[in-house]
Amino acid sequence: MAAATEPLPASPDAINDDILRVLEPPSKTYVLGVLFCGALVACGVSAFLYQVYWGFGVTGLNHPVMWGLYITTFVFWVGIAHAGTLISAILFLFRAKWRNAVNRGAEALTVFSVLTAALFPLLHLGRAWKFYFILPYPNQRGLWVNFKSPLLWDVFAIGTYTIISILFFIVGLIPDIGAARDRVRDWRRHLYRVLAMGWRGTSEQWRAHSRSVLHLSGLATPLVLSVHSVVSWDFATSVVPGWHTTIFAPYFVAGAIFSGIAMVITILIPVRQAFGLQAYLRDVHFDNMGKLILITSSIVGYAYGMEYFMAWYSANPYEQMSFWYRGFGHYWWATWTMIICNVIVPLPLWFKRMRVNLAFMWIVSIFINIGMWFERFVIIMTSLSHEYDPAAWGYYFPSWVEWTILVASVAFVLFLFLIFLRMFPVIAIQEVKELHYEEAH
């Protein structure tokens, strides 16, 4: 299956028709997909309630591994959330025009991923209903949060990121919601009327809109670096072998972009097929996303190599033991899955014909999603289960409750994305029109 190179439709109205077609009544497959994802989410909710009722004993968490699948999945979803901001903010500032067709989908994925990620620290709390204890505000309990803890920095980093990505998403949507408002005749018209915020497409409004997008891009760009850097410091500031390493911040950021782009590809290829968007999601988009994957995969591979090298070079027996354990200890299968999926599998993308082969790209993207989840699993489990004292070594394997919640989190993101697909245009109409205009002139 090769990517299409069909020309864009000749008239702006045809572009409207094509993209807004996704808002028409859904097919049976779509409804079944939503129901299926919804059922999986319900399973996850049930598993969570079961955990709340019986306590943390129903998970695999035990001494010495107190961070398990939940924290792994938290980091995984925060990472996925980086694609939207990279594509929308950084590539916007770099004037990379190809981003126009993929930015809306990536932004939506960012918002849904970051919301899903935010659930996991709550799932990991022993008493989830006390979640508000982590927020710093004057209270009658006389308790104050510990600002020296990287975990609290997460609250701020993720909180800021959530706000900015939602703002970015909504501001970008306004003109398209205006177009949708003028087209649909059902109940959604009322929703769009509110969300369009009086959009009429006047030159004044366009000017304000462009300025907002530019300023939001400027605000969002540092967040691409800061959010996952802060997450990486949850680990790196500790004195745990395998965690305390200076390269973690840029390595986590590169990994986040790597996984985020892979997830965008995983989702957009089926969407492109299902909604006939071949003329909009073209080979240039997949070619460029493939290149981004190559760059970030190389950085991630460099970081893996440097970590192993420095552990050996350090002549520190704890570091050496920790990395030997990664490769050849109990979790060897997870480590090699990580290396193969993240470094070896993307290698064919050095060839352009593989980057525009969508079937291949889709398969590679799924391997990367798996590999990046395993990367976080490896970092957390291998280091915690084998710290300094052999008498305190242990082994962790997630329980069915945790696996269920992991699957439900994937279903939750897909569920939200499917709903989004029927509610809002998945491709930014106005930006595609601008591109079309520039190509024509």
């Binding site: 850097s229 305390h244 200076t246 840029p250 190389s298 440097m306 420095m310 002549a315």
Partner: protein, 431 residues
């Protein structure tokens, strides 16, 4: 343009004389320093820090050209060729590397005494073999990339050149298939080689950072440091590229008006953004070491930022105590020149477009990197305790300034010479 290309020029006299004088000054300072017993170690140390600066910068310049290709950048115009001309220095830096080999007994403790636990890695023969191979590889890749990129410009020159140039161009253009085909081929092959150039820079200069900087304090480890050093090579080359472009903008020999306000703006944006990234890498390393407070790691920072590194003394009294310690002022000056000033001054659009402001910041950035390389090397070889005991240390001594000037002279002689050997390397007036 073709006719113009076919007439190779001689070196411009005044600049060539100045740079030759600087190179000669460097050679005199080097030999005078090396031959005097009490300054021999210092001379090799100064040579090492200058070599690290200019070798990484020259290869960084090739990476800048490669980055233009890889990102399909369309704004740079002749700036790409100027970066490539700067990259010509990689051949000379490879030759100069052997001076470090000659001075190994003065520079590296592990040549005499094996480092506990690192005997294998720092076995002298193995160390210099792998570094030599890495430098052979990275030099070959960079020169091959430059050759591919510049080959299409040699066709016309080959026809008109005489003497040794004719044989040289004939050799370089063997199998010539016409300018159009050659340009197309160079574009396709250049893009592939650009990826190899970038990867080779990251890997080889990481190795150099480990073997020639980290090894000076062999107990210290940081997974970030090699990448941080390689990135510094890239950023310093952008700063120097900006200076060269600004210096050439009114030259009668270069395409008039090639450095438009938009291009100055873009160069300013590169310095601005990449200096933030440099600081981000620095901070990510510093912060993790500061927070964990492990002696094996903090020692490297304490030697450069003072014994109060771990204490909260950012009020005025504490600050004055801090800068009184050896090396601290220079380290803070590096921050100021490489990040603080580029960030705050280049925030707006107008400063980026104003040649005087952009040029001042770029000069500061290059000087900052020169000091940074000094700070990375010197405190490991002359620890602060020795300075406090009376060891005379300054980056502004006659050996330091002399060898520094020598490298500047050699670099720009190489730059000018490269533009003469490859007639298409520097865009010309009327081209």
């Amino acid at each position: 343009m073709s006719n113009d290309l076919a007439e190779p020029r001689s070196l411009p006299r005044v600049p060539a004389a100045i740079f030759a004088a600087l190179a000669a000054l460097g050679a005199i300072a080097f030999f005078a320093g090396v031959l005097a017993e009490d300054t021999s170690a210092r001379t090799y140390r100064v040579f090492l820090h200058n070599w690290l600066m200019w070798a990484a910068l020259a290869n960084g310049a090739v990476c800048v050209s490669a980055a233009f290709r890889l990102t399909n950048a369309g704004w740079q115009g002749p700036i790409q060729r100027i970066a490539e001309s700067m990259g010509g220095f990689v051949a000379i830096s490879f030759l100069l590397y052997w001076v470090i080999y000659l001075g190994r007994h003065e520079l590296f403790e592990w040549v005499h005494h094996p480092v506990a636990g690192k005997e294998f890695w720092f076995e002298p023969g193995f160390t210099f073999l792998r570094d030599s191979l890495a430098l052979v590889w990275v030099t070959f890749v960079s020169l091959f990339y430059l050759y591919i990129s510049l080959r299409p410009t040699l066709g016309a020159a080959r026809e008109a050149a005489t003497g040794w140039r004719k044989s040289l161009y004939g050799f370089w253009t063997a199998g010539w298939r016409g300018e159009e085909v050659e340009r197309d081929f160079a574009e396709r092959r250049g893009r592939k080689m650009a990826a190899v150039v970038a990867l080779s820079h990251a890997i080889c200069y990481s190795l150099i950072a480990i073997d020639f900087i980290m090894s000076l304090a062999p107990e210290w480890i940081s997974t970030m440091f090699p990448a941080y050093f390689a990135w510094g090579g890239f950023l310093s080359s952008i700063s120097l590229l900006t200076i060269v472009c600004l210096a050439l903008r009114n030259s009668p020999e270069v395409v008039p008006g090639f450095l438009t306000a938009n291009r100055r703006h873009d160069l300013g944006k590169l310095i601005f953004a990449f200096s933030i990234f440099w600081m981000y890498l620095f901070w990510s390393q510093y912060f993790v070491i500061w927070y964990a407070n492990i002696p094996e790691e903090t020692g490297f920072i304490v030697a450069r930022l003072g014994t109060q590194f771990l204490q909260d003394t950012w009020y005025m009294g504490g600050f004055m105590q801090r800068i009184a310690e050896p090396y601290v002022t220079w380290t803070l000056l590096v921050w100021l020149l490489v990040w603080v000033l580029p960030f705050w001054v280049l925030l707006g659009q107008r400063p980026k477009k104003t040649p005087a402001i952009l040029g001042t910041i770029a000069v500061g950035s290059v000087l900052g990197f020169w000091l940074e390389r000094y700070i990375l090397v010197t405190p490991s070889l002359v620890p602060p305790s020795e300075v406090l005991a009376g060891a005379a240390i300054t980056p502004l001594g006659w050996i330091e300034l002399g060898i520094g000037a020598g490298f500047v002279g050699l670099f720009f002689l190489s730059f000018l010479g490269f533009g003469r050997v490859f007639p298409g390397a520097i865009p010309r007036a009327g081209g």
